[in-house]
Structure formats: C-alpha cells, structure tokens
Amino acid sequence: MAESAEGEAGFAIHPMDQFIVRPLFGDGPVHWYTVTNVTLWMALTVLVVSLLLVVGSRGRVLVPSRMQSVAELLYGFVYKMVEDVAGKDGARYFPYIMTVFCFVLPANVLGLLPMSFTTTSHIAVTAVLAVAVFASVTAIGFLKHGTHFLGLFWISSAPLPLRPVLAVIEVLSYFVRPVSHSIRLAGNMMAGHAVIKVFAGFAGALGVASVFPVVAITAVYGLEVLVAFIQAYVFTILTCVYLRDALHPSH
C-alpha cells in the first residue's frame, strides 16, 4: 500500500509517517522500556510545564511577572473550571485534573512544531488518559455513594415504562464515554496534522505554485492552534463533567 502511494503521481504524501514511534537512538525493536520519540516529546512536555509553572512562579511576588502571570492564569482557569463544573467538593481532585490539563495542552501545542511528534495523537496515550479518568471517576462514584451511584442510570423523572430502556441507553453511553473521550482528542490531533502533511505533500510537484499549499498550511496552522487549545479544554472539562456525575449522581 505504501509502495503504491509512493508510485503514484510523484506526490510524496505520507501523512501518517509523522506518527511513527521509533527508537531515539539507533534502529531496533520498540520494547516497552525503549527510549523513543514518545519519551522525548513527553519529556519536553514535562520540561515546558516545569518551566512555566515552577520556574515561572519562582519569584512568588505579589505583583506577578509575565511568566508568573501565565502560571496564575492557567491555575485560575483550571481551578475555576473544576469548581464551576464539578462543584466545591470537586476541588479536592483539582491536582489530578490540573495534571491532565498540563499534559494535554503542552503536548498538543508542542505537536504543532514542525518535525515534532504529537503524543496526544496516539490512541494508546489518550485511551490510557480516558480510561484512567473513567476508572477513577467510577471508583469515586461508588466509594462516595455506594449503590446509589447506579441512580445515575435510572432516570426517575422519566415515565416508568421507559426507564429500563433509558437505563440501557444510559449504561451504554456511560461506557462509550472513555471511547469518545479518547478518540476525540487523538482524532482531532491526528486529523489536523495529517491535513498539514497532505498539503505539504502537494508542494513538491507544484514548483512555484507551491506557494498555495504553504499558505494553506499557514491557515491550517491557525486552525490547529485553536484546536490544540480547544481540545485540551474539552478533554479537561469533560473530565470535570464526569467527575460531577460521580460526585452528584442525582443531577
């Protein structure tokens, strides 16, 4: 399949090559402990977060520097989101949600750099995140409310005959949550990067007219920046929504 794509029309379109996981040093099989480009870009994510939140807040001054201001805004943004969506008692879980946000957002943004590797475009990564959220939220729900948590699926405001049907639908949608949660993020990141790569593939055969794909990529970049932020926001706020469902299943 790859050969056939290479053979056709002289376009060098390999939109998925950028997502290949490869060892960082040398060629070889990818074991679970191998240091790969995944490692590198996740490490860069941690580095960026540390730079912003730890180094930025180093001064601890009352009137913030720009870096500290960014750190405070991020903190306030996520904290407000947790408090508004999950409620006051959701604030206990703020560090976890902040961790998720502080992983997804920098990973998305770093993925925008040319030649970078987008860790959040991999379903394996987002699935782990989503399943972790799903599992912990479900555990919190059962720990806090016991079997009352199942009331989440039993819509008591609906007419009685409809309730079993609704319950089946609710249970199904509950278990679809981690799937949609993970695929939304990975798919969004993958789609944008693939589009950029496809456009870039056109440039080689167009000569001077390759200005157009370049300009198109620039425009897509604008969209992608937006998508990177919005998807991080959506991933985090959905986490908060699930957390609220676990904390207050009656709503």
Binding site: M1, I20, V21, V38, V49, A71, M98, F103, H122
Partner: protein
C-alpha cells in the same frame, strides 16, 4: 519504512494501530503523568496557590483592616466628643460645687459676723447700761461739786450739807 518486517503493514498504514508500540507509549505516559503530578502537586500548585492566597489575603486583610480602623476612628470620634462633653459637664459640676462651697463659707462667715456683731451690740448695751448706772451714782456727786462751785462763784458761802440736800431734792424731782 523504518519498521520491522512483522509490523511493516500496519505501521506503514496507521502507526496509531501498531500495537507493538503500545507498551512503550503507555509506560512512558505513566512515567510522564507521575512526574507531572509530583511536580505539580509538590512544587508548582502549592506555590501558585500560596501566591494567589497571599494576594487575596493581602487585599482582604487591607480592606478588613481599613473597615476595622474606620470603625475605630468612628469610636474614637464619639469618644472624643464624649470626652469633651464630659469635660464640660465636669467643669459645670465643679463650678456648681465650688459655688455651693463658697456659699456655705459665705453663709458661715456671715453668721459668724452676725454673732460677732450681735455680741458686740450686747456688750455695748451692757457698757451703756453700766455707764448709765455709774452715771446715776456719779451724777449726784458731780452735781454737788458743780453746784457748790456755782454757789461759791456767787460769793455766797454755802455749806456742803445744804447743797447736797438741794441736789438730792432736785434729783428726785
């Protein structure tokens, strides 16, 4: 491409579905998340929270202090006014008391003076009475003396007895 033979097909197609790389990704993701969580929960978040709390605390503290100070200022103002009023009242009381004392002193002094005057009046009354009494005795003597002188001045000799009798006679009448 740069992948092994067994994974060539799927890796070249969709790297996301190359299950051979999943353990690697999951492992590094878990490492990353733990590292991020530790960094955030141990260092970054408490620090930022402290800064935000300090700022908010500073502002609320200042405003609360301002309110409290304002309250104290109002209290001080009322206390000031009250102290002034108290001082005036105290002054008025002192004046009244002083006046009363003075009045008492004056009354006492007047009474003392009255008794003194009364005593003097009594004394002078007595003295006058004494004068009168002594005069009644000495009038006869003096009158005899003077009468003899007068009689002698007229050249007629007179004996003392007749003169004395005449004086006694006169004094009775």
């Amino acid at each position: 491409m740069a992948t092994e033979a067994q994974g060539a097909e799927s890796a070249a197609g969709m790297p996301q579905l190359d299950f051979a790389t999943f353990p690697n990704q999951v492992f590094w993701l878990v490492v990353t998340l733990v590292a991020l969580y530790l960094i955030l929960s141990r260092v970054a978040l408490p620090r930022i929270a402290a800064v935000l709390a300090e700022r908010r605390g500073s502002i609320t503290n200042d405003i609360a202090a301002a309110e409290e100070l304002g309250l104290r200022a109002r209290e001080a103002e009322t206390a000031y006014q009250k102290a002034l009023a108290d001082a005036r009242a105290e002054a008025g009381r002192i004046v009244v008391k002083a006046r009363a004392e003075i009045q008492k002193d004056l009354d006492a002094a007047v009474a003392r003076a009255d008794t003194e005057i009364a005593a003097k009046a009594v004394e002078s009354q007595e003295r006058i009475a004494a004068i009168r009494a002594s005069a009644a005795a000495s009038v006869g003597e003096v009158a005899r003396e003077v009468a003899r002188e007068i009689v002698q001045a007229f050249g007629t000799g007179a004996d003392g007895r007749s003169v004395a009798a005449a004086v006694t006679q006169r004094m009775k009448g």
